[in-house]
């Protein structure tokens, strides 16, 4: 008899509540000492950190649903044995969507032109470039598109999870299984197409690239996507290893973990490819409007982060995850997953901070506290979602394919 029903272990609970407590204290202290501070730099720091974390973790959790949908579209069966894990992670999306939306409300209704320069109407009117971009970068469009995006992610994600629960009900006939697979394919396609329109293009432009309102890069959205996707897969890997260590997910073997490891390896390289392409074209062309973005990151106070980013997110995965043995090793995979999640968090840090707080950056108690808050929330909501459904979709048509999966 396999262990189907996940029960949250005491240690997990302790860590969750510990992180949440630390995070909430940090948030409250941050709100009082930074958010309400008379010092403008402190206020900027408060909002920039909230923006960085809420966008990063929202996109990371949403990447879990993209992972499911992309594999569903490819008719991949190998991941069905642990499919409930990315599903549970994607169940965090509605919560994080609301939190991110609250942050955007605060930023735009609070008229924070130190974060989003384009909310300052006066400045836009006197600025040729921003006047051109006005049709896209304005509060109305920002809110409409953000609301649509968050709603569609939430809704299609829920639909996919609901469809998955149908595989718990009972054996399917061949006809039912075909119809079931087709339904899954259709909804996965809707999600993926919308994902391309949002994470693949417009959403990073609106939420992140507009921090540097004058600057633009055609690589930016893909770069953001690659960053969050690889972190999302690392998060899936962490939960798989955690559940395996507690005796769950009997059908998920090292074969599946190996493939997840391949994903982390491959998308780390993909991320580097975009990271470098964006950098090299701007470096080579050497046009002041474009190089301004890298001036502060590459030669300014963020130089350390720039190279640390490269080491954690490229050098480490490519060298450590290259061999077959390391992708099948729980300890190595855990280490690399944590490194990748933190590495891309730092990547977002150096995407957001130079454009907002600039030279007054400070990776201090507030930044780590909010990180703890978000990790605590992921653990809390994912853990809760895992308990709500059996860990194996027993009657899924591809389950057998997943069990006998062999790399």
């Amino acid at each position: 008899m396999i262990k189907q029903q996940f029960e949250i272990p005491a240690g997990y609970k302790k860590w969750t509540y510990g992180l949440l407590a630390v995070g909430i204290v940090a948030f409250i202290a941050g709100f009082i000492f930074l958010g309400m501070s008379k010092n403008e730099h402190d206020q900027t720091r408060f909002w920039a950190v909230l923006l960085q974390n809420s966008v990063y973790f929202l996109l990371v959790c949403n990447a879990a649903m993209f992972f499911i949908c992309a594999i569903t579209l490819a008719h991949g069966g190998w991941s069905v044995a642990f499919r409930r894990v990315p599903e549970a992670i994607s169940a965090v999306v509605p919560v994080f969507a609301i939190l991110a939306f609250l942050v955007f409300l605060g930023l735009i209704l609070g008229h924070r032109h130190d974060i989003y320069h384009w909310v300052d109407k006066e400045a836009v009117a006197h600025d040729k470039i921003l006047t051109w971009k006005k049709g896209f970068l304005n509060p109305t469009f920002f809110f409409i598109w953000t609301i649509i995006t968050l709603c569609v992610w939430t809704f299609t994600g829920m639909k996919m999870r609901k469809l998955s629960r149908k595989a718990d009900e009972g054996p399917m006939s061949a006809e039912d299984a075909k119809r079931y697979t087709w339904n899954n394919t259709v909804w996965a396609a809707i999600f993926v197409v919308f994902f391309a329109l949002t994470v693949g293009s417009t959403i990073p432009w609106l939420w992140l690239m507009s921090l540097d309102a004058h600057w633009y890069s055609t690589m930016y959205s893909w770069y953001t996507f690659a960053s969050t996707f690889v972190a999302g897969i690392a998060l899936i890997a962490l939960f798989i290893i955690f559940l395996k260590n507690h005796g769950y997910l009997e059908y998920t073997t090292r074969e599946q973990l190996h493939d997840v490891g391949k994903f982390i390896f491959a998308f780390s390289i993909f991320w580097t490819y975009l990271w470098f392409s964006q950098f090299m074209l701007i470096w080579y062309a050497n046009i002041p409007e474009e190089t301004i973005y890298f001036k502060i990151r590459f030669q300014g106070p963020y130089r350390g982060f720039f190279f640390l980013n490269f080491i954690i997110n490229f050098c480490a995965p490519i060298l450590i995850l290259m061999t077959k043995g390391s992708k099948r090793n729980y300890a190595v995979m855990t280490f690399m997953s944590v490194a990748v999640i933190l590495g891309h968090w730092l990547d977002f840090y150096q995407m957001v901070m130079p454009s907002t707080v600039g030279e007054n950056h400070n990776l201090g108690w507030f930044e780590w506290g909010i990180l703890a808050l978000y990790i605590g929330m992921i653990m809390f909501f994912t853990g809760r979602a895992l308990t709500k459904a059996p860990l194996v979709a027993k009657y899924h048509p591809y389950l057998k394919e997943s069990i006998i999966h062999h790399t």
């Binding site: 090299m280 470096w283 080579y284 290259m322 061999t323 077959k324 062999h406």
Partner: protein
């Protein structure tokens, strides 16, 4: 030339092949090789083959390519033929990375293909004995190598009992040889039963 005697069994089903491989190995016969129309997952494990070292070779070739590119470009552009490209420093690493990447890929790809061919004993003008032409079509062909002590009849019966559809004995060259096919076609016909082991 290393001419040996082989007992060849042909299976028409993967599901029969796997238990047969297990039985044959358990009985202590030495499997020369199994020829299949397509890559069969897990067969290398069942045959007890060690992991290939092809990827290690690929890594080494890649490093060679990377080093070649970096040392060659940097020698040209900082020592041998210094030129000013758009005011960039002579040692401008970002501009070279695409070339370094390409040569890494090129060296590892070409090197691995050649190594693969060597490991599989394939090369232009080189011949290998084909145990059953249908191994490239729809048959899984298991080849057992005989020694001077092997009871051939018993081996044949064993294979047939394990589910082989077709069993025969062939005396053939075990490795590869240089030659032209039309001339070598009858190389093993009418050989007497002298087997070197």
């Amino acid at each position: 030339m290393d001419i040996r005697k082989f007992v060849v069994g042909s299976f028409d089903d993967e599901a029969v092949l796997f238990p047969a491989v297990k039985k044959v190995r358990k009985a202590g016969y030495k499997i020369h090789d199994v020829y299949t129309p397509f890559p069969v997952h897990g067969l290398d494990g069942a045959l007890g083959l060690r992991d290939t070292s092809l990827h290690t070779a690929g890594f080494v070739y890649g490093l060679t390519g990377l080093t070649t590119a970096l040392s060659f470009i940097s020698w040209i552009l900082t020592r041998d033929w210094i030129q000013n490209y758009g005011g960039k420093p002579h040692f401008s690493l970002p501009a070279w990375i695409p070339i370094m990447f390409e040569l890494t890929v090129l060296f590892s790809a070409v090197g691995m293909v050649l190594t693969f061919c060597y490991l599989c004993q394939l090369a232009p003008f080189v011949k290998k004995h084909v145990f059953h032409p249908r191994a490239t079509d729809d048959l899984f062909v298991m080849v057992i190598e005989c020694t001077s002590k092997t009871n051939v009849k018993e081996t044949e019966d064993f294979l047939a009992a394990a589910g082989a559809k077709e069993v025969n004995v062939q005396i053939a060259e075990a490795g590869w040889w240089l030659g032209r096919y039309d001339q070598d076609r009858h190389l093993f016909d009418n050989k007497s039963e002298t087997v070197t082991a």
